[in-house]
Symmetry: C2
Subunit: 282 residues, 2 copies
């Protein structure tokens, strides 16, 4: 049985690179047009799991994936942290002086703003995904066009790296969640990993009463549990109320975590444990 | 002296509507190409203040404006909450059956997804701003194109509302900050408002030690101060560390708020008070 991993974007995307990092090169990667399609592919059983980017250290949260976590009943079974290296990619033989226009995803363009500012002759144009921009440039065959993407995208489309490592800040990481259907989670090879620190992710709804966030965090703080990330998303139809997504160290079966979760359940609405998983390391 | 208010987008944008709501119809509104340009216009003195959208109750935070608050030394002098009504807008005389393609900002398209799903013959295309999409449709003069935007955009470009109120959820509000240079804030008419509840916004940096967020909130919670919003943004070059933006009820000169801010200053890095201002009401 081959493991099928859904990811958003074209072949060569950072998400596909993350899938190979997690499951090895033999995995079957299944490109999806959108994050919505990626969640549907797992929910309907077309894919065994999804590789969902959730946060980048320069750009911040991938909010659509946070919202989709609430809309679907998938569980987080793993975490991958990928160092993101951006490259200027063009047809083989093209020189920097020939390039007039550069395509990429707006977040990738933003990550390379110092390089672009230093090369003002390059006109920038946004594309819906980094690897897709390389695919388009390779397909059109124009020598005055280039794309910004990861190295696997250059390889995937027979293009070449004109300038490597052009991101403004090298401390550029994307964190991914590996998502699976709860009834299929146990069968994934990721759950067998041992000897790595564990993390747990939860989500709950907070109403508008003063002090509720503080009280909801008390159980975690008193157990000295390390809260690594807090993210809030608006709730449709309930203006100024939010869903809070928390990531913290520890497995849901650790007694201090169990106690903190019991405390949380009494101070919040709709508490849902999204999963416990091995911490990803770059 | 006319008051000049910078806003992002084309004439007829929701931000321009918010500026007129705050300052009256006699205000001089100054369209800017980007949020970055809008901040620069105020910093350099070209505009007296800016009308910056910070949060929408369906789409969430406007993250670029959070980041720009950190990069510039502007102060929040007011808040506006605007009910966002989306409309399908086309040339005068055009009927719904004639329209084949609809342009708008991706957030506006998302806000109208039920209407668009119920009219599958409409192909959607993204534009960089809602009013700009109306301007483009009006300029091109094609009867098979329409845009989604607010009513003032239809008026601004001589177009007409084909279907009004097409947003999926009517509890759709955008919250704006009015931003000014600290040395010019006192001269703005907004500071003279009385009899309205006050709010304060702050930002600080939290390191990676366990329990720091909880301890930083303790001072606010113990004073029964109502925390209305918490938002975090990544810090460039310091992976997994965040700037936290907090909004809460009360003026910075209220004694309980003063005490809570002193407590916060001892538990956080780089605490900055972004401003105290009258609460906006829809």
């Amino acid at each position: 049985m081959m493991l099928g991993v859904a990811f958003q974007g074209e072949r060569g995307a950072f998400s596909e690179e993350a899938a190979r990092r997690m499951f090895g090169r033999g995995v079957v990667t299944l490109p999806q047009r959108s994050f919505d399609d990626m969640f549907v592919a797992v929910t309907t059983g077309v894919a065994d799991c999804a590789m969902a980017p959730i946060e980048n250290t320069l750009a911040g949260p991938v909010v659509r994936n946070y919202d989709l976590l609430l809309e679907h009943d998938l569980t987080i079974v793993g975490e991958v942290v990928l160092r993101v290296v951006q490259n200027l990619i063009a047809l083989p033989g093209v020189t920097l002086a020939e390039v007039k226009r550069v395509y990429s995803h707006p977040v990738a363009l933003e990550q390379c703003k110092r390089f672009l500012a230093a090369h003002p002759h390059l006109e920038v144009a946004s594309a819906s995904d980094t690897a897709g921009a390389v695919k388009m440039v390779a397909h059109r065959g124009r020598r005055d066009e280039a794309a910004i993407a990861g190295a696997p995208a250059a390889e995937a489309y027979g293009a070449h790296i004109l300038v490597g490592g052009i991101e403004s800040n090298t401390r550029n990481f994307t964190r991914f969640f590996v998502l699976a259907r709860p009834d299929r989670a146990a069968a994934l090879p990721v759950t067998a990993e041992a000897g790595r620190e564990r993390k747990t992710s939860i989500v709950f709804h907070l109403g508008r009463r003063p002090g509720t966030l503080y009280r909801s965090l008390a159980g975690l703080a008193e157990a000295d549990i390390d809260l690594t990330k807090i993210e809030s998303r608006p709730i449709e139809g309930r203006p100024w109320e939010y869903s809070f997504f928390l990531d913290f160290m520890g497995d849901r079966t650790d007694p201090p975590v169990e106690r903190a979760l019991s405390h949380l359940a009494t101070h919040t609405e709709n508490l849902r444990i999204l999963g416990s998983y091995a911490k990803g390391e770059p």
